[in-house]
């Protein structure tokens, strides 16, 4: 259900949440856990993200970012706030 690992540029407006800046507001297009810097397996990472409410169509907004390398980030997913590292947020494709 996720694309091949090299296709990170499906659509010009689509970006990975892990690259987005503070203040970014968008919608989740899909999850693609194959090419992230996370230590979790793609399967496990995707499962956890879904468990925390990162599913297609959800509205996301980056509210805050950490001090060192702007990591981690606090993301508003619909109406809850989740803190996560950018390496895991790479799996979330947003527009």
């Amino acid at each position: 259900m996720t694309g091949d690992p090299n296709s990170t540029q499906d659509n010009l407006q689509d970006i990975r949440l892990g690259h987005a800046d503070r203040g970014f507001v968008g919608k989740i297009i899909r999850l693609d856990a194959l090419v992230t810097g996370s230590s979790l397996s793609p399967q496990e990472l995707e499962q956890r993200l879904v468990e925390m409410g990162f599913v297609e169509g959800a509205r996301v907004e980056i509210l805050h970012e950490g001090t060192i390398r702007r990591d981690p980030i606090a993301v508003r997913v619909d109406n809850i706030t989740i803190a996560l590292r950018r390496s895991e947020a790479m799996a979330v494709i947003v527009e």
Binding site: Q43, L45, H64, I68, N79, A83, R85, E88
Partner: protein
């Protein structure tokens, strides 16, 4: 309670108020706080419903799904599925949801439905939802889910009345439990369930046009990349200053009280009752009393921690510290267990159950005892007040508080260093685990729950003083008083006692780090609990000083020890594994003696080396 009593289980996403409900139903006082992952054990309690049914209710760790990816979530899964040893499957599952935040719990509800147990949905925190203008069409939601729904306010009097009533109604009917169709959900299952949950929410819930922005406004200050770290440092700094300055008057009062009591006993006791008098004055008052004096400090530190926990700051602190912790090879969720270890390493080690990866969990358990627990406060304070002048530096900082802050910082730094070293040597190939944590909305700390929390801690402290510490003191008093000095002996009688023999036997081992025999005597019973060392020193010096030793222990130490010895003992207490209960919990939580032995040895080695360096450096600098 009979076997016929009905079994309820509280299940739900983390931080939805399950424990608050449990407390309110059963009248218990289990720990409640505003961050995910507070409850990590199964807790059982009983109550009788208005119609007289006796019910057993289980409080369970919060979970986002029944997958069970960490030890705490496994408990919940096993209970719900009836796989838990010695625990029958619940007759009724109360699924608890935070009414302001339904998405994740509703998905869990859909998953729970597949298990087939009779179930009721409890929309808790309905007070907050109403205040924000969230309206929920309960009938519609109940129809969509095919479940009875009840609202509750777990933290308000009468807030669970409806839940009780509906539970009675529910239990009056007979319910057929369906066979479980639960299988570990796949990603596609989860997504489908989330879509269904979102659909139900869209149909039944109207959100206010103006969402809650208070949390957001506070966060933009508290989580500011620079300002946030400054605030965190200031909070910790104020906390340790307060431990010294605010507690001072109350401590003086207590300590004067104990001195007066000792004097009174001395004056009132008839001659010839010397032994009993010595026991009361030296063993009880100088020993146990010297520990009780620290009660105000314990209260203040817990007050701070409880306020931060209830307000919702803990998860924010974890956010701010994540990179630093990750740099030291720690799991993102290690922060809260480590912060809880400031109170006591035991709940801290228990709290590591929220960590899913075994290696990450082990590392956190290994370093948790290095965080400065409240039992070290008496030791630190005693030595600091005896050797550090209470002057003000830089215009507003209490020097004693500053030293205390330094000791805490030393504990934290050493914990991070040990973790980094462990990672480098043991688990080099192990990539850092991810950090994913819900940041709950801030809540106004509730006076009553804070008061109960502080009271419980104070009671525990006094209970320990009255049991562990008291029994150790009786032993020490005995060892320090017998055998009595032979007739015509010179010097204090204690020099002829068992205590002196033991102390002198150990002294050669401890001399390189600057400890005298009196400290050696205090260290052994100090294994039972760190505060015992303070009490032991109190008793030993008080017996040694004879009848006129009405001096407070701090003044005695200032005369008898060099600064080098005092510093060495402070450093010893940063590292030394001086707590039998912590070691026992490590053994239980890691499932074997191996890691307990590892912890003991590494901490002891660190303590000895660090004290050795401190003592010799201090001597070389001429600090006598």
């Amino acid at each position: 309670m009979t076997t016929a009593s009905l079994r309820l289980a509280l299940v739900g996403a983390p931080n939805t108020g399950k424990t608050s409900l449990f407390n309110s139903l059963t009248g218990s006082r289990q720990k409640v706080a505003n961050y995910p992952g507070v409850t990590v054990e199964r807790k059982s309690g009983g109550f009788v419903t208005p119609e007289g049914r006796s019910v057993t209710v289980l409080d369970l760790p919060g979970t986002y799904s029944l997958r069970g990816r960490s030890p705490d979530e496994e408990i919940t899964r096993d209970i719900v599925l009836g796989r838990f040893d010695g625990e029958a499957v619940p007759d009724l599952v109360l699924c608890v949801a935070d009414a302001t935040n339904l998405r994740l719990t509703l998905r869990l509800v859909l998953e729970l439905k597949r298990v087939g147990r009779p179930m009721m949905l409890v929309l808790n925190m309905i007070d907050i939802a109403r205040r924000r203008g969230v309206t929920i069409d309960l009938e519609r939601m109940s129809q969509e889910l095919g479940l009875p729904i009840v609202t509750s306010v777990a933290v308000r009097k009468g807030g669970v009345d409806e839940l009780l009533k509906r539970t009675d109604e529910f239990l009056a009917r007979s319910h057929e439990a369906a066979a479980s169709q639960w299988t570990t959900p796949t990603i596609a299952d989860l997504k489908a369930a989330q879509r269904e949950a979102d659909r139900i929410i869209a149909a039944a819930v109207t959100l206010p046009t103006k969402p809650d922005t208070l949390t957001n406004r506070i966060d933009s200050v508290v989580l500011h990349p620079v300002g946030g770290l400054v605030i965190l440092a200031v909070i910790l700094f104020v906390m340790f200053q307060a431990v010294f300055t605010w507690a001072q008057p109350a401590m003086e009062l207590l300590s004067d009280g104990f001195s007066a009591l000792g004097q009174l006993i001395h004056d009132v006791m008839p001659e010839g009752w010397g032994l009993l008098q010595s026991f009361l004055q030296n063993g009880l008052i100088s020993g146990v009393g010297s520990v009780i004096v620290f009660l105000p400090q314990i209260i203040i530190i817990f007050l701070f921690i409880l306020l931060l926990e209830d307000f919702g700051y803990m998860a924010r602190a974890a956010f701010l510290m994540d990179r630093i912790m990750g740099g030291a090879g720690l799991h993102g969720r290690a922060f809260i267990p480590l912060l809880s270890s400031f109170a006591c390493a035991i709940p801290g080690i228990m709290a590591t159950r929220v960590i899913d990866n075994r290696r990450d969990r082990l590392t956190t358990i290994l370093i948790a005892p290095l965080m400065t627990c409240s039992a070290r406060i008496p030791v630190y304070t005693l030595i600091i007040s005896a050797f550090v002048p209470a002057t003000t530096v830089w215009g507003f900082v209490n020097l004693q508080g500053l030293v205390m802050f330094g000791l805490y910082a030393a504990g934290i730094t050493s914990a991070l260093t040990v973790s980094a070293i462990a990672k480098f040597f043991l688990w080099r190939d192990h990539a850092p685990a991810p950090f994913m944590l819900e940041l709950p909305d801030y809540k106004m700390p509730r006076l009553k729950s804070i008061a109960i929390g502080v009271f419980t801690r104070a009671k525990m402290f006094l209970y320990r003083a009255g049991t562990t510490i008291l029994s150790m003191m009786v032993l020490i008093w005995f060892l320090a008083s017998f055998p009595t000095a032979p007739a015509g002996a010179e010097g204090p009688a204690i020099n002829y006692s068992f205590a002196a023999m033991i102390g002198h036997a150990l002294e050669p081992l401890l001399r390189p780090i600057g400890f005298n025999w009196q400290i050696a005597v205090a260290l052994i019973p100090g294994m039972a609990a760190r505060e015992v060392a303070v009490a032991a020193l109190g008793t030993v010096y008080s017996i040694e000083g004879g009848k006129e030793a009405a001096d407070q222990i701090g003044q005695v130490l200032a005369q008898k020890w060099t600064l080098a010895t005092a510093l060495s003992l402070l450093v010893w207490y940063i590292f030394a594994p001086q707590c039998a209960s912590t070691l026992a919990v490590i053994r239980r939580e890691t499932g074997g003696a191996k890691w307990m032995v590892v912890t003991f040895i590494y901490m002891l080695a660190l303590a000895y080396v660090a004290s050795f360096l401190t003592f010799n450096l201090a001597q070389a600098l001429g600090l006598h």
